[in-house]
Amino acid sequence: MAFFSKNSRTIINNLKSKAGLSRLMKQSRNCCSMSCLNNTNCCRFIPLTTIPQLRNPDSYSHKKGFLFCFQRFQSTTSEQQFASLPNGEHNQELDFPGGKVVLSPEMQFLSESPCVYNHCYRVLDDNGQLISNSNFVQVSEEIAVKMYSNMATLQILDTIFYEAQRQGRISFYVTTIGEEAINIASAAALKSDDIVFPQYREPGVLLWRGFTLQEFANQCFGNKADYGKGRQMPVHYGSNKLNYFTVASTIATQIPHAVGAAYSLKMDKKDACAVTYFGDGGTSEGDFHAALNFAAVTESPVIFICRNNGWAISTPTSDQFRSEGIAVRGQAYGVRSIRVDGNDALAMYSAVHAAREMAINEHRPILVEAVTYRVGHHSTSDDSTKYRPADEIEWWKMARDPVTRFRKWIEANGWWGSETESQLRSSIRNQLLQAIQIAERAEKPPVNDLFTDVYDNIPSNLHEQEKWLRGTINRHPKDYPADVPV
């Protein structure tokens, strides 16, 4: 805590009267407080109460529920603050083309970690009980039950498909275990016109929108009913009907796509936004940085949802980045952001709901960092016990399960019970087993689909190659799988 000079103390005293700042300074650790105060860009909070749908306006708490907001051109406040400085001429404002600066003869470095801990928004405690004085968007019984059913369905879907891969019936699978709340709650807070650009751990969004268990199975088996025509690995779902862009294995490439799509929605004046999902690993890719910057500059209505689940395959976040999580990066790009407990379905719902309002009404991007834990392995090609303790996984699975947590809340509301629970689970299980059987027996797409859709029409070189290939197939049929019609 260096840099305490006479001037500085005066500044602090003058600012003490401003709402909340002094309390925050007491709370903050790792804070080069002087650097923050001298920063021309004054920190401002947006209380959640300014967002209409939120309940409990009187429960405004300094400890919880802040939106840490950075308003770049709110020069009125900073002018007021500095007007009362004794040595005004040392701290003049100056206009450079790169920005308005407040000069200072004191050398200050901006700290590598934020002034204040980036608060993580949660509404339900670990036992599914509402935290007192919490702000959240109310959810009806119908929606809540649908959310829970979808979360449970996702769990069962994952379990059964994972098993199917282990049995050799599908080649590959990726589970979403531990991240059901992020998937379902965020999907529930969106509308069907919102365009989704997923990574690959968000099948719950598709599920919420109405993708059937049979459709999931068809893609995993790559049969002729697969909308992707059997071209990609399992879990690479896509549905233009449900506004869910096709999954690709490439990391973070979808993030700038979402920005372009959001810009289009803005130009068309649609009441819709673009939403894109990615993990903590994805935030290291250049496309993430490019996208956030573009979104801010183009003022596009896009929601960036980061599933910070602690692991990028075997790489823990400490090997991934040294920033204080992901939400803090938003400010660096001029993007409003929030950190949310990703295992709290109500908090996720509220945050995404609020984000959507702001994105569409204010034409701005929003970054939502959902902290969670990847309970499953990265994929069926991974055994995560090789790089993390088995009991850590077990603990998160049992003690911090987002599905159980939400169930406790809806049960407490009298909206769910053990009977409905077992009914749902056995029904979904049976449906899934059936869907898999049907998908497995179905024909694969014809070999002609190898050549279509490279371009809108088949070019002459591909016509040539198809002819040549068919000749080869005729001469050596045993080289080719029997279940692909020729």
């Binding site: 992707g228 796509h257 979402a258 372009g260 799509a261 809108d456």
Partner: protein, 376 residues
């Protein structure tokens, strides 16, 4: 030092004069040549009108195409670094004023962002016309082009596509560009199923081809020969017109040897053809125009006529697109060939500054190769 400088300038001037003369021949009849390359004064569009054509240079033709594109499709956008004020090559002059900042805008300095954003815009049914300032800087966008744009339709089972995406970039030697203002990276993109690669040779071709690329329902990379931006002047129809993609054009008839090329190199090849004629060699010159998917039929038909092929491009010879053409022709026309397929291309070095005249596939290198092939 002064002598070295003088000699260097002399060679550069020769190179340019060669190009200038070559341009006279490559384009339509009433041609006005712009001033010499290096200390260029602006060649504004000429007042000469012919029917409803006007004599304009390449960047003006591109500019016209963009004006037409934005005029005819309200969902067309032009974006990239510095496009708002008109662009570093003036290709986007007047667009922002006419169509507004929401449709014509600067992007941050980030090629992967430009193309990624463009893909998203195109995926929503818009015509996204992205500019990469120099082809030399296209590589950060390579992942987005290869892994995303090229596979967007295929991987989705045709549920989605980004066909409305067109990426424009100036490419090729400019006399003083060095490593990073002279590259011809077309070969990298020709290896990617799912995109099209188009390269115009002149202003008239550029306007028609660019409009076709913009309106083609597939993502296209359009390389513009920057050397010709001011230097090439041609009669260009003022109206909206399109030229077909994947159709090569025989721009000079001949019977002894087929020459295949694209872009600015064609004017050099034309020069070689003219000189070869003085030695009694009749050369057929083919402009490929679209590199993928390329028009094998036209080239094969020409080779069946002449029995000899020579391919020329500025890009380094190894791994260049000339190799693909050569292999394909050998496969289909082997028994007709009277001589090995010749390639006169750039050297396998980074594009040099002082050594540019040595690096480039010059008229005389081509002429020597024509003679060697004919006399094989």
């Amino acid at each position: 030092m002064f002598i070295v400088k003088f000699v260097f300038l002399h060679f550069v001037c020769l190179l340019q004069r060669e190009r200038e003369m070559a341009l006279r021949n490559i384009m339509g009849k009433r041609v006005r040549i712009g001033l010499m390359g290096r200390r260029l004064l602006s060649t504004a569009t000429c007042d000469v009108e012919s029917g409803n054509s006007k004599s304009i240079n390449l960047y003006s033709a591109i500019n016209q195409a963009l004006h037409v594109a934005l005029e005819t499709d309200p969902r067309a956008f032009v974006f990239g670094e510095d496009v708002s004020f008109g662009g570093v090559f003036r290709c986007t002059t007047g667009l922002a004023d006419r169509f507004g900042k929401a449709r014509v805008f600067n992007t941050p300095l980030c090629e992967q962002g430009i193309v990624g954003f463009g893909i998203g815009l195109a995926a929503m049914g818009n015509r996204a016309i992205a500019e990469i300032q120099f082809a030399d800087y296209i590589y950060p966008a390579f992942d987005q082009i290869v892994n995303e744009a090229a596979k967007f339709r295929y991987r989705s089972g045709n549920q989605f596509n980004c066909g409305g995406l067109t990426i424009r970039a100036p490419y090729g030697a400019v006399g003083h560009g060095g490593h990073y203002h002279s590259q011809s990276p077309e070969a990298f993109f020709c290896h990617v199923p799912g995109i099209k690669v188009v390269i115009p040779r002149s202003p008239r071709q550029a306007k028609g081809l660019l409009l076709s690329c913009i309106r083609d329902p597939n993502p296209v990379v359009f390389f513009e020969p920057k050397w010709l931006y001011r230097l090439a002047v041609e009669e260009v129809p003022e109206h909206d017109y399109m030229l077909p993609l994947s159709e090569a054009e025989v721009i000079r008839q001949g019977s002894d040897i087929t020459l295949v090329g694209w872009g600015a190199q064609l004017s050099i090849m034309e020069q070689a053809c003219i000189e070869a004629e003085k030695d009694g060699i009749s050369c057929e010159l083919v402009d490929l125009k679209t590199l993928i998917p390329w028009d094998k039929e036209t080239v094969e038909a020409s080779v069946r006529k002449t029995g000899r092929v020579l391919i020329s491009h500025e890009a380094p010879v190894t791994g260049g697109f000339g190799g693909e053409i050569s292999a394909s022709i050998v496969e289909s026309c082997f028994l007709r060939l009277e001589a090995p397929v010749a390639r006169v291309c750039g050297l396998d070095t980074p594009f040099p500054l002082v050594f540019e005249p040595f690096y480039m596939p010059t008229k005389n290198k081509i002429l020597d190769a024509i003679k060697a092939t004919v006399n094989y």
